[in-house]
Symmetry: C2
Subunit: 339 residues, 2 copies
Amino acid sequence: MTGRSTGLTISDVAKAAGVARSSVSRAFTRPDMLSPETVQRIMDAAKRLGYVPNHTARALSTGRHGNVALIVPDVANPFFPPLIRAAQREAERRDFCVFLGNTDEDPKQESKLLGRFAGQVEGVVLVSSRLSDAQIRSHVSQRPLVLINRDVEGIPRVLIDSGSGVSEAVAHLAELGHKKIVYVSGPVTSWSNKQRKAAVQAVAARLGLTVETVAASVASYDAGRNAVGRILATRATAAVAFDDLTAQGVLAGLADRGVAVPADFSVVGCDDVLGAATYPPLTTVSNRSEEAGTVALSLLMDMLKSRVVQDARHVLETHLVVRNTTVGYKAAHGKAEPG
Amino acid sequence: MTGRSTGLTISDVAKAAGVARSSVSRAFTRPDMLSPETVQRIMDAAKRLGYVPNHTARALSTGRHGNVALIVPDVANPFFPPLIRAAQREAERRDFCVFLGNTDEDPKQESKLLGRFAGQVEGVVLVSSRLSDAQIRSHVSQRPLVLINRDVEGIPRVLIDSGSGVSEAVAHLAELGHKKIVYVSGPVTSWSNKQRKAAVQAVAARLGLTVETVAASVASYDAGRNAVGRILATRATAAVAFDDLTAQGVLAGLADRGVAVPADFSVVGCDDVLGAATYPPLTTVSNRSEEAGTVALSLLMDMLKSRVVQDARHVLETHLVVRNTTVGYKAAHGKAEPG
DNA sequence: CTGTTAGCGCATTCAC
DNA sequence: GTGAATGCGCTAACAG
């Protein structure tokens, strides 16, 4: 015995429209198999009664539920909402629903969600996964999976190459006369963090800059603010932060200590989620999160349709967005500031 | 014909364990109805075969799928993510999954989503719904529903009373010597907007302030920025904005025109989503969005459990958070600034 | 084109 | 305690 409340079913519509139940079903799934008038009559009746197909029943019968899961580390991190919305839209466009999962940056929670969603979704998009490669691989064997900002061979992935933008940032800093900079790192399990750190170090080495790393561990305003003491202790004159939130915290910490930005110290963020809203407006690296969401979802949809896993690796380049936390830097030594 | 892949069913287990299908079902749902040995034998067989209950089938049969829907106007609006996360956590805690819907502030989209979720969720939480009371009521007849920031009699709702905080804001402005202020309004279909506007007008009237309304129509940085021309045209000396985003835009527009804040003009936002990150740090009204999310979800869960719709009306008070966009105002006329 | 008939996998009455 | 039968709402052959 079931517990449905209003349960308006296909039968109600069939009766109201004076047709067989199967015709109602067809009207909703394969209208082309019916005469236009019949479809019309059925749809009218359906609308009049307020009938709407039951997805669960349909799923049981077809094995396809039209749901996908989108799992992110932290909904409240401004980097993700645009991505989520874009993914949502793309899903919507193809008439899919999305389950949203929030892992709070916790791998255990991520696994738990993956399990919890199993059997209810046809595929999943994992954003900035904190799982190990092996764990991710084991899930792939279960159902179609697309990764965002995680580079695992053989698994379709879309990568926002913040490395390109970060490289530009370091070059920009060198240009301004900085000799020693610090990279304020984010979550250690984050692929993006590894990528950014590597880019900073590579370019710094090439340009003859010294770089030290200061850990903020989590990506947040507070973490950035708390890192300022350690940043200043390095005697560096500029910081590239893991992301804008962290950079904003750094800005605040610097202000607390009376360090002028950009006159005495330069700061660059990453992801451009704050727009020009910080003070001073933050020099940062552009993000492509919306596109990442859209692309990841289409990739997933294509997989669901074609039933074939291709080793797609979609890379989205980023660039430096120069605002006001870098350009006014007055180099104490070395070449004069340009401009 | 179905399309299940691994499709191990209850029958397979039954055969392997030498029992009836119903016993297998019971072993998983009501073990107490079976003898311990039988349960053991069934569980062993199940594990050996790798059987795992089919969520969809179970849902169809019981009408309970352990899913709820959370529908918001705009995931990317910083007001919502904390609420979403809180709701998510509360759901998780009770072993429920959440479908996230984004309406883009569009009532039609909202209706569509509501339909799209039909049969997949046991209940829904509608945040800042843009639907008419009648439409909302019609959905209530379908399935358990809880409203956030929407006051419809008879429907369980949790209301963030920004009115209380906004009232404090206006009083604060009066105290500073302002004589004429403007309310920069948000979406007309927004309950919160109506509430805030009413609060501004009521308190202003009581305190003898003149208030004009300038429409920003959508809640965004750009809308706020674009409204500045009209705001200044009113000759008012302070603005209370629908929300922080709008206020931030106003701040930017003011800066563009060289109007000093708070010296020449005071600004107060609403919802406190930007923290102290604006420049100057924004005076605003606190939000209780996380609690709203948590409370709404527990309310919904309780309804699902008890099967009874109570006319709950949970109100969360807010307060003024004074930062730096108001206090330095130098009243040209009237009493001197306090402090 | 449309109606009839079976299931999809499981929970749940009823008998035993 | 356990098995046999029925149905959740819908889709998909199979006829006509």
